[in-house]
Subunit: 278 residues, 2 copies
């Protein structure tokens, strides 16, 4: 179906919990096209027309015209074998979106400072639905594969930034989100139900920071602090991440202070630059 030979072990969390397949979208023609765009971008190899036909379950004629429109607009591309892949227009649109993002611009110098202080990778993320979208990253001197993280949508229930973000949701929004979650096991430490997750969130609320104890990726730990606007319409977080062999839980605990201070500084500046209510 979805292409036979999948070489390279594309490590992918997939899961897209922020949008539920069962919930129909009420955005008319655009919604239907975005479903297709998601289908193609979430696949890990280009899809042939027939593959998409099977996945989308639409009439041939309809699907053909829809894909044609997406290609025409550069959102999809057809390769030499007639298979559909994500289009480069997405890159152009996204680079503009990223370059001007106010939150990222405000946070950038503080992320750099936190990186200097800890020497480990620093992440900035935003809560969107039930996913964390990483907006920025400051890391060491390895040949960086930045896009591998920036723009990536990861589940909120197994990342430091995600759990920190959940801890500042209003009670009703939190329970609503918890109800809609479906859990995916990434490691043996991944939360697999709302009860244990909620219990940890209560702890996070009281201490003001969250840990990822190898819950998303084996061997990777992090400590994170939430960032939120006064009216909670905007929620994100900042984290310091690294390999477990180098980052003991004690060390992470010590870093909780600078991480929280970084979050605080970013929030202070947001109030100045974006106004106090938001």
């Amino acid at each position: 179906m979805i292409s036979g030979g999948d070489r390279m072990a594309q490590v992918d969390d997939n899961d897209d919990a922020s949008r539920d397949a069962s919930t129909p979208r009420d955005t008319g023609t655009l919604g239907k096209l975005m479903v297709l765009l998601d289908l193609v971008t979430h696949s890990d190899a280009p899809l042939r027309f027939t593959d998409i036909l099977a996945l989308a379950g639409q009439p041939r004629g309809t699907l053909h015209r829809q894909l044609g429109h997406l290609v025409e607009e550069g959102l999809l591309e057809i390769d030499a074998e007639g298979r559909y892949a994500p289009g480069l227009r997405l890159l152009d649109l996204a680079s503009r979106s990223w370059a001007r993002n106010e939150f990222r611009l405000i946070a950038a110098p503080h992320l750099a400072a936190l990186h200097r202080e800890t020497g480990e990778t620093v992440h900035l993320g935003v809560l969107r639905g039930s996913s964390i979208i990483y907006l920025d990253k400051v890391e060491g001197h390895q040949p960086v594969r930045m896009y591998s993280q920036i723009g990536n949508a990861s589940p909120c229930y197994c990342t430091g930034v995600g759990k920190a973000a959940l801890s500042v949701l209003t009670a009703d929004k939190l329970s609503e989100l918890l109800r809609s979650l479906h859990f995916n096991r990434f490691t043996s430490a991944t939360h697999m139900n709302a009860e244990t997750l909620l219990a940890e969130i209560r702890d996070i609320v009281s201490v003001g920071h969250a840990y990822d104890r190898e819950e998303h990726e084996a061997g990777i730990r992090c400590v994170a602090a939430p960032i939120w606007s006064d009216d909670r319409s905007f929620i994100g977080g900042v984290s310091v991440t690294g390999p477990a062999y180098r980052l003991s839980m004690e060390l992470l605990q010590a870093w909780a202070v600078p991480v929280q201070m970084t979050a605080r500084k970013i929030m202070d500046e947001m109030r100045i630059r974006l106004g106090p209510r938001r």
Copy 2:
């Protein structure tokens, strides 16, 4: 403020020469929505409803619903003041598009090698219409601002990769593209007409590499080599870029060899991995 008196000719063709110039955009509802998305992402500040109303020249009711759909799908976002900005969903889509791009994956190790050899910034770009879209970048040890370059669309007539790409277009495609170009002065060295550009392209064809002599940005030089598929359905390029004070034209000339060799290696591997025809 943004919108001054610039009432943007609707079918401005922005940059896509790959689209047949004679046929107007015929992607129905999607096409209309993409015009709006472009409007908002190309602005350099969030736009209010009324700003967009003036720019798009559509009836209030229509525009309102269209923007609503774009917001609903996460392609646009509304900030606290009710202004429209590019949405984060674009980042998620783009990161997937980038992560799986075969050309980039093939080229990556060769870019790294070229960077090691020269010590300067290496770029990988693809010709899209009359723009170069940068797909990857390898640079020094500064805190990297990758998105600032990756995904960026730059004009083909004033960048090294762009001119290198033009040099491998078929004669008819080249003249078609040259006809559709409108030139924008970035520096005193920027080509401002098709004649001088075409003259330089002839030189590039004969030597196999192109220079950017501070034509896009003052103080920045580069040397680039084209990369193309046998059937010319795919055209891009690789370059080494740096500050003019450090990169004399003599040094760039010396680097033309490794840059061309890098391009050659990438093309060889493309033939193996993607098949010889394409």
